[in-house]
C-alpha cells in the first residue's frame, strides 16, 4: 500500500490513544444520556491532561492514576473482554474472566495512555449518533482534529450499565478495537487455554508498561 495511505493509519493509532482520554467536551442541553456521560467523563480527563503537572513526567504519576480511574469508569473492560474473546467467553470461569479482563485493561491502558505526553490542542466534535431499534446500543460519532489539522473519525459504542452508560468499543477510521483483538484472541484460543491467553496478554502489558517507563 502506498505510504500516503498509511499515514492515515498512523493518525489512527494516535487517535486511538486520544480516544481513551481526550475529547473536548461541550455542554449541550439536548444531548442524549449516553453522550452526556461521555462528555462529562472526558471533560474531567481533559482537565487532568491540561494540568501543567502532566507535561512533566516526574509529576505525571498522580494525574495519570486519576485518568486511569476515569477511564475505568467510562470504559467497561469486562464488556470489552467478553466481546474480544467472543463465544468462548462463557467457557471461562468467573475467575478466569476477571483475570483476563484485568490483564486486557492493563494492556490497553499501558499502550494507549503512554502515547499521551500532553495537550497539543486536539479538538473533538460530536458529529452524530445512531442507535439500534431497542435504543440500548448507541454509537456516538466524533471527529478528532489533530494538531496538524488532520481529521479522524472516532466512534464510541455505548450501552447502559448500572444505571448509566459505558463504552464497549472504540472504532477509529472504521477499524474496531474489539474486532481486531477478537481475531487475534480467537486465533490464539484455538491452540491455547484461557490461562495461557491471559498470560500472553499480561506479558504484553508488562512490556508496554516498561517501555512507557523507560521513555
Amino acid at each position: 500500500m502506498s505510504t500516503a495511505r498509511f499515514t492515515a493509519f498512523r493518525a489512527g493509532v494516535i487517535a486511538l490513544a486520544f480516544a481513551f482520554v481526550l475529547l473536548a467536551a461541550y455542554a449541550c442541553e439536548a444531548a442524549s444520556p449516553s453522550r452526556q456521560t461521555l462528555e462529562n467523563s472526558i471533560t474531567r480527563v481533559l482537565n487532568f491532561i491540561k494540568d501543567p503537572g502532566y507535561v512533566n513526567p516526574a509529576t505525571r504519576g498522580p494525574l495519570r492514576r486519576q485518568i486511569e480511574d476515569e477511564v475505568y469508569h467510562i470504559f467497561d473492560f469486562t464488556e470489552f473482554s467478553a466481546r474480544t474473546v467472543g463465544q468462548r467467553w462463557s467457557t471461562f470461569t468467573p475467575q478466569q474472566q476477571k483475570k483476563f479482563s484485568d490483564a486486557f485493561a492493563e494492556l490497553l491502558l499501558c499502550t494507549y495512555l503512554g502515547k499521551i505526553d500532553g495537550y497539543n490542542g486536539e479538538k473533538v466534535a460530536f458529529v452524530g449518533e445512531r442507535a439500534n431499534q431497542a435504543g440500548d446500543r448507541v454509537e456516538q460519532k466524533t471527529l478528532l482534529t489533530m494538531k496538524d489539522g488532520k481529521k479522524i473519525p472516532v466512534d464510541y459504542r455505548m450501552m447502559p450499565k448500572n444505571g448509566g452508560w459505558c463504552v464497549y468499543d472504540v472504532i477509529v477510521e472504521g477499524v474496531s478495537l474489539v474486532k481486531n483483538y477478537r481475531t487475534q484472541f480467537q486465533d490464539i484460543l484455538q491452540t491455547s487455554s484461557p490461562d495461557e491467553l491471559t498470560a500472553r496478554v499480561k506479558t504484553k502489558a508488562l512490556e508496554a508498561r516498561n517501555a512507557g517507563n523507560a521513555k
Binding site: 500516503a4 472504521g174 481475531t183
Partner: protein
Amino acid sequence: MLSSTFAGRFLPLALALLLGLAVLHVPAGAKASQQPTAAQRPGAVTARVNVAKPAGTKDAVPSAVYGQRGGGLPTTGIFVRKKRSLEQQVTASIDELEELDDYASGEPQLIADPIEPWNRFWFGFNDIFYLYVANPAYRFWETVTPRQLRTGISNVFRNLLFPMRFINNLLQFRFKEAGVEFGRFIVNSTAGLGGLVDIAKHKKTIVPVHPEGEDFGQTLGRWGFGHGFYIVWPFIGPSSVRETFGRAGDYFLYPAFWASYAIHPWYVPTGIQTGFFFNDLDDVLPTYFDLKKAAVDPYIMMREAWVKHRAVQVAR
C-alpha cells in the same frame, strides 16, 4: 505495509502474473469455502452512500457545537446532513460496512489466509528489516534533512503519482473526483513549483476527494473483486491477490515506469522513485511499531487492520 520498489523493477509484475495463474488453478471447492471478504459485502462496492432520511426522525435541534446537529433521542439510521463533508462521508461509508450489532455472532476473520506459515515467515523477515535496516536509515535521513525538505519531496512525489489517482478515478466512473485531481495537479505543478508546495491542499473542491486518492487495488475492489487471499510480500508487507494485481496495475502509472523511457539506464528513475518511497516512511515505521506494541499477536492484528482499512478506502 511498506510501500517501495525495493523488490525491483520487474519483480512485482512478474510475480503478480504468476500469482494470477496460481489463483485460476485454485479448485472450485476451495474457493467456495473462502470467507466472504469485506469487499464482497454489499456496502463495499457501492459507489455512493445513499443519504436516506432516517425514518421517523423529526428535525434535530441545532446544537451549539460547531453549528452541527446533535443530540436528540437515539434515532434509527445515519444522522447526517445532505451536503456532507469529507469526514462525514467517511464515517457514513464506515456505517455501511459495520452493523451496529452486539458482536453476538462469532465473526470470521476478514480474509482467507491459506498460506499463513509462509506469510508469517515474511512478516518476521519484514519485522527485522524494518527494525534494523529501514528504521535506523530513516532516523539518519531525519537528522540530515530539515522537515520542510522532506515534506517538499513528499509533495513532489505525490504530484508525480497524479496519473495513478486520475486514471483510477476515471476507471471508477468518478469523473468529478478525477476533475479535482486534475485541477490540483495543474495548480501544484505550476504555481506550486512542480509540486514542491501543495497549495491546492486547502482549496475547497466541488466534491470531497480524500487526500489518499484512488489506486488500482481500490478500483478492483469497487468493481466487486474480493481479496482472494492474504499475502505478505517482502519489504512491502500486507497484500492480497487483488492488491497484488492492483499494485501491478499501478506500476504502469508510477513515475519511474514512464520516466524510464526517457531516462537511461532504467535503474536511475527506479532508484530515484525508491528514494521517494523511502522519504515517505516518515510516519509509517513508528505506526508499525506502535501497532506491534499494542498487539498480542502482531501478525493477525496487522492482517485484520489492513483488510479493514482497505475496505474503508474502497468504500469511500
